[in-house]
């Protein structure tokens, strides 16, 4: 490869755009399904850990262990079970990573509800379920969403590692570029992954503004 | 002496926290800045150790303009106590107290010995020295805060609402402790509070401030209660100024009869000559009574002692609690009249 090789060959992008689009879609699915699944599982588990404090230490400890497992290692361990180059092989470990970030976030978020607020809700006659939905969860939203941002961005970035086992969305472009000693796919892959992450992050920030108007009012005050 | 000369603090957005403040804080006495929130009392205090710098005017510490002193150096010579104590959570109590001595380069042994001495002085068990702040109650933490401020024996002490975060019982004991310490140490103390009762109890001089950073009145508590400068000060002082003012009139001026009773009643004493009650002539059983210390207490305490007892008279005792005489209702009336404050004399 000579020095004349440009970092980006625009014509290559034009020619391969349909394929890139397909990889992008695959990437989005494999990155977001784990986050959504993670959130759906983390909410009840987090609530349970906040309610019964004895569960908290074991849950967080387990999640710390899960978090320290290298993604590539877990992909590989799963191959015999879920198959090589399958979406599921990538989605399962990433779901666990999301859980590792989201469960502590849910617990901390609920911990951020001031005691006085919780007690006055009880005093006003809120039942446990109603209090949870109308008082505790809304107050916990900012902390949970902060966790969701980290989980989403990490998930989008981690999917590309799946390329090493044959299913990594945009990560395929890294393998392709490496094998052909060709910059363009690699650069396109990096740019798209980062752009996707920034976009998703921005959407969550936007959602947070819509979901917690009281925080916004305070900021402008 | 600390002198404020036309001191103004104006923030970037135009808000004026302190407006052209001129006053003197006398050496060796407690001066209290009191007022509602937003009156600039804390800002005024924090300008003395340059936590905030004045926009206009100057502050003199013993004739030296504080702007000529580098802030950390200035602050090491001024004790500083704040509301939540602000103890360093990662350091043991003894090292918290020794903070400034360490900064001043004292050797460790000397600094620690000084810290232990101060812990005792503020009424703390020295067993607490090895603990961390989170292991102490709020009142204990506040005492440590005072000890820490006194560690390098600074002539000036700044106290920013130091007792407002503790419960009333603890607060009262901390206030008494401060007065006791001050009687020994004679520091120049500037004390900020929003509680007028605390101001009157502690202050040799009280500066009442109003919103916008204006000084409304500066005077001794008794003067303040007797002659509030305007409606704002009067309102801030509250309703029962007259009664409270009696706290500043010594009881020693009362006419005491050495009779052990008044017509129809006698004072019952125990074997140590301490009063145990009033006895109605010809009746068994004792009735409630009240006493005051002739030398130390105020006219207010004496009046209170009289109001507690069915005969309407107060029992005077000496420093050891022994019977010293009786003050009749007439004698009290006379003293109250002299104090210019007869109850009910609208």
């Amino acid at each position: 490869m000579g020095d004349t090789e440009p970092l980006v060959r625009w014509d290559w992008i034009g020619r391969n755009w349909p394929g890139i689009q397909q990889l992008l879609t695959d990437h989005i699915v494999m990155a977001l399904v784990p986050v959504v699944l993670g959130l759906v599982i983390a909410l009840p588990l987090g609530l349970a850990s906040a309610r019964w404090r004895v569960l908290y230490q074991p849950t967080v400890g387990l999640m710390n262990v899960v978090y320290s497992l290298p993604s590539l290692a877990v992909f590989i361990v799963l191959i015999p079970i879920t198959g090589l180059a399958e979406r599921t092989t990538v989605i399962i470990p990433l779901t666990f990573y999301s859980l590792a970030v989201l469960i502590p976030a849910v617990v901390d978020g609920l911990g951020a509800v001031p005691d006085s607020v919780r007690q006055s809700a009880v005093a006003m006659g809120f039942g446990p379920m109603r209090r949870l939905l109308q008082v505790d969860l809304p107050i916990a939203v900012p902390v949970v969403l902060a966790g969701l941002r980290v989980a989403t961005v990490s998930s989008i970035s981690l999917v590309s590692v799946g390329a090493l086992i044959g299913r990594g969305g945009l990560g395929y472009l890294f393998i392709d570029g490496w094998q052909r000693q060709f910059y363009t796919p690699i650069v396109v892959g990096i740019v798209l992954v980062v752009a996707l992450a920034v976009l998703a992050d921005g959407l969550i920030v936007l959602a947070q503004r819509l979901l917690t108007p009281w925080a916004r009012a305070r900021r402008t005050a | 002496m600390i002198t404020f000369e036309g001191v103004t603090k104006r923030y970037g957005d135009g808000t004026v926290a302190v407006d052209n403040l001129s006053l003197q804080v006398p050496t060796g006495a407690i001066t209290v800045f009191v007022g509602p929130s937003g009156c600039g009392k804390t800002t005024s205090l924090r300008m003395i150790n340059r936590m905030i710098d004045a926009t206009e005017g100057r502050i003199l510490l013993d004739d030296q303009d504080i702007r000529e002193i580098d802030p950390p150096t200035l602050r090491r010579g001024i004790g500083y106590v704040i509301q939540q104590a602000g103890l360093f959570p990662h350091r043991k109590i003894v090292d918290n107290v020794a903070t400034v001595p360490y900064l001043l380069g004292w050797d460790k042994k000397k600094a620690r010995a000084r810290a232990m001495e101060l812990l005792e002085r503020v009424g703390l068990d020295t067993k607490l020295a090895g603990r961390y702040p989170f292991q102490l109650s709020g009142g204990q933490q506040q005492r440590v805060g005072v000890a820490r401020a006194l560690a390098a024996d600074p002539p000036v002490l700044l106290m920013d609402e130091p007792f407002s975060a503790v419960d009333p019982v603890v607060r009262a004991s901390l206030q008494d402790e401060l007065l006791r310490l001050q009687a020994e140490l004679h520091k120049t103390i500037v004390f900020v509070t929003h509680d007028i009762d605390e101001a009157i109890k502690l202050g040799d001089t009280v500066a009442v401030m109003r919103v916008g950073g204006h000084l409304a009145q500066i005077a001794a508590p008794a003067t303040l209660l007797a002659e509030p400068a305007d409606a704002f000060v009067e309102g801030f002082l509250g309703k029962d100024r007259g009664i409270r003012r009696l706290s500043f009139v010594p009881a020693s001026g009362l006419a005491v009869s050495t009779e052990r009773g008044v017509p129809g009643w006698s004072v019952a004493l125990d074997e140590n000559e301490r009063p145990i009650g009033w006895r109605r002539d010809g009746a068994d059983g004792l009735q409630p009574f009240g006493t005051f210390d002739l030398k130390k207490d105020s006219l207010r305490t004496a009046l209170d002692a009289a109001l507690l007892a069915p005969p309407g008279s107060a029992i005077a005792v000496d420093g050891d609690g022994r019977f010293a005489g009786v003050v009749t209702r007439e004698a009290l009336d006379e003293a109250l009249r002299r104090a210019g404050q007869v109850p009910g004399d609208g």
């Binding site: 290298p70 890294f174 910059y183 650069v187 992450a197 992050d201 | 602000g86 990662h90 900064l103 700044l158």
Partner: protein, 223 residues
Amino acid sequence: MNWLVDFFGNRANWSGSGGIPIRLLEHVEFSLAALLLAMVIAIPLGLLIGHTRRGAVLVVVTANAARALPTLGLVVLIVLLAGVGTTWPVLLPLVALAIPPILVNTYEGIRGVDEDLRDAAYGMGLRGRQVLLRVLVPVALPLILLGLRIAAIQVVATATVAAYVGLGGLGRYIIDGLATKDFPSTIGGAVLVAALALVVQLAFSLLQRVLVSPGVSRRARVR
């Protein structure tokens, strides 16, 4: 299980340049170098913006975006640019990976110290640097260590990717195993990396106990 026995029971896997001890050492060395570089950049920067509160928004937003950088992509791009066979440039993606958690946690730790404490420290006459080093850092230490722990674990886990471009470390067993369909090697490598990550986790728990004042972690017993 049989795979693990095959891998760890094979004596050839325990000696020579491709043996487990050497690979482990390479992995640790590489991870440690990346972590130290990231610390040298992120800790002073985090302390600075946490203490002065200037430039915080920009730095935190950039750090969060940097979390999105796909390490695999950066590794292959850098090796292509620098030429195959280079070693140290491959550290850069790992450093980029480690900086955000260290930076954000250091910044948040310092910024989050109780305002009263800062006030008291300045009021006692501590200078800016003394306030930072003697009060803010000890109090923020649990969060700073948390950031370091997260970074260390991510680096150890992700350093495996470097094997894809021909570098050593435990990733070799995984990548080579995948290429030659040698499953015991792949699984064995994965288990080794996971074990190393757990050791890092434990090491940080110990470090936390040693470095953080009992007054901050509230572990002290009342005597």
